[in-house]
Amino acid sequence: MKKLLIFISLIIGVTSLQAQDFLNKSKVSGSFEVNTQYYMPDESIGITDSTLNNKFFGINGFGKIQYTLGNFTAGIRFESFQTPLLGFRPELEGTGIANYYATYDNGTIGVTVGDIYDQFGSGLVFRTYEEWSLGFDNSLRGMRAVYRPCDGVTFKGVYGKQRFYWASYGRDENRGIIRGVDGEWDLNQSLAAMSNAKFRLGVGGSFVSNYQEAAQNDPIYKVPENVSAAAGRINMGYGRFSFTTEYAYKINNPSAINNMIYKNGEALLSSLAYSQKGLGVVLQVKRVDNMSFKSDYTAKENDLDINFIPPINYTHTHSLPAMYSYSTQPNGEMGIQFQVNYLIPKKTLLGGKYGTKVAFNYSQVNDIVRDSITYNGKKVLYRKGTLGYSSPFFGISDKVFYRDINFEIDKKISKKWSIIVQYINLIYDIETIEGHSGAPTVRADIAFLDLTYKITPKHSIRMELQHLWDCIGTGYEVPEGAEKDYIKRGNWFSALLEYSIAPKWFVSVADKYNYGNPVAEYRDHYFTASVGYIKDATRITLSGGRQSEGMVCVGGVCRVVPASSGVSLTVTTAF
């Protein structure tokens, strides 16, 4: 009792002493975002009262509050999906505090308890992150510790259980317990002798294991309860050249994704770059073989991913090429990307007064080679409960999942005019990537033009024109009953006109027209109009019209957005 009194008076003493400081040093900040949509039936694109299922309203919203006091930070995030917008997973439906955490970090030692986001290396064995636009959150509820004994050296440890929509974190055998450690050493930063060296070197390594109790109860297979993965990475540079590589290995991990095969998994990601002011060149190669890693072996799609396999293709954001965005195939792919960015200097023939930015990109992803294996004296391929297949490390299958060749010119012509043109040649295996079985691969050419005219320093008008030529046209004979697989196929034309008054107002109208669809009923216009207002860190956007079916992809993880018609309101703010 006495001790308690002393303790309390001590606290009161310290608090009153530092009350002034307390107020000065603490800070509350946060952000808020709400996306609402009112859906309307629109029979010509197949939306009726019954397909809407009486869910005319969709709301995705979150609010986050964060408290900072010196090296201490704590925060909570409230989320509400009542009901989730179309295209988001129905499991998201719900409202509540989805995320909270407290961190102390003084630069040398850091501890976080609560929901953790972190990444080891490029994420091949561990990455927890949140992507609001996809409704994706695989955060780890548990603990994280970081130790940085000296400049350039970092050790990390994480422990916990992943978020699965609104599922409880209590005793639940179906989600594994994840434990991971990572170490990193940058020699140039930590060794005085190398601090000014032209040669740069950094190394790192990580180990992650997942323990899933339910695995031992599988009715058919003997599934490992402990699955571990390890990765090593090197980061080298010499003058203008740099080379980075990471290799990851995972022990056998039969799962719903890999058809319950017992093969080990591996992934390699390497990049070689040359860079100087005005010119950047990069070459990346990647091999992925059976590298899906989840904290529940029965999980599907992107649920409960422990790792992240970075796609290495170019990210298209213009509406027509973005319809055919590549998503990583964790079961196997061989990829290459070559990209050049060049600034044609000012005051040259092609550079003009402001210089001209040009970019070239080539990326291609093929399947890996899979050879049959012998099982009980028979040749089998990809059979459940076996080692699945054997795959030569450097083997590349003839099957092309994705290829993209594009060229871009970005030029400021005068104080008033600027222009961006892009030409894209695309191959997209819609059968593999979107599961439209039997649909012919998309081979498309896309032209893009973005023209901006500054009327006054703050008033601008922008026009965007796009055209997509698909290899199949109106004459293509679609097999009976397979029409659904041909939605969004054929030629497209799209135009957008935007008027903006910096920094606050913009209004735009746009139309996308699928005039070349082989199925006559799908030859629709998708007209939208939007108006937006921005003030400091607040943005309000109101739009109405028709949304075509498409994919929203962030970092190779994609979400299919179904066609819809209606009005949407988005508000985001930060404080």
């Binding site: 400081d21 040093k25 900040s29 946060g30 964060q66 006091l69 010196g70 201490f72 930070t73 407290a102 102390y104 970090d105 630069g107 986001y117 990444q119 490029s122 992150y129 400049d151 970092t154 940058d186 140039n188 740069r200 740099s242 980075t244 990049s271 770059a273 040359y274 860079s275 002011k277 005005g278 010119l279 950047g280 992240f308 970075p310 796609p311 990210t315 954001t317 960015n341 060049y342 600034l343 930015k357 970005d410 400021k412 500054k454 320093p457 703050k458 008033h459 601008s460 922008r462 910096a502 920094p503 913009f506 921005i534 400091d536 860190a537 607040t538 943005r539 970092g555 985001t572 930060a574």
Partner: protein, 164 residues
């Protein structure tokens, strides 16, 4: 258990209190383009204002904003001594491509890589581009989300207000 947690929280708070903190910059470590670790809390511009802007290679308006800032940067530096820290929130797919991308566009800013959006989260950034203006002591004095043609002029007016 709850008591222990409460105690830990208090402990953390006092530890936090005892540490010096004058700025709005969080204690988060990011990498620069040479792979070196940079503690964000230590960012400064020798007592002059600085800008921190969040962008991504896949974000069209961000690239436009950076092009516009790049065109006027020399003038701004000459007149106000301002410095721009440009934080890429691209994920691991682009880590190796950022340097060639930035050099290929000729951007003169200090680039930092926020590969898993740690800094973006700490600064409550939801969508890029998102731009902050800090005074010489590292206090946020202005922020803006989105970029519309000509929007850089607004930022410049704010910089002029605090640089004497």
């Amino acid at each position: 258990m709850k008591k222990l947690l409460a105690f830990l929280l208090f402990g953390f708070m006092f530890l936090g209190l005892s540490a010096q903190n004058k700025s709005d910059l969080p204690n988060i470590t990011l990498k620069n383009l040479d792979g070196e670790s940079v503690n964000i809390a230590e960012l400064n511009n020798d007592g002059k204002p600085f800008v921190m802007t969040f962008w991504a290679t896949w974000c069209g308006p961000c690239v436009k904003e950076h092009n516009a800032l790049s065109d006027v940067y020399d003038d701004w530096v000459e007149e106000t001594g301002v410095k721009i820290f440009s934080v890429s929130i691209d994920d691991a797919r682009s880590t190796a491509k950022i340097k060639p991308f930035v050099d290929g566009k000729g951007w003169p800013f200090v680039i930092l890589l926020d590969v898993n959006k740690d800094l973006a989260r700490a600064m409550n950034v939801s969508n890029p581009p998102h731009t902050f203006l800090f005074d010489g002591n590292g206090k946020i004095v202005w922020q803006h989300t989105g970029y519309l043609e000509g929007g850089e002029e607004d930022l410049y007016q704010e910089i002029l207000k605090i640089s004497k």
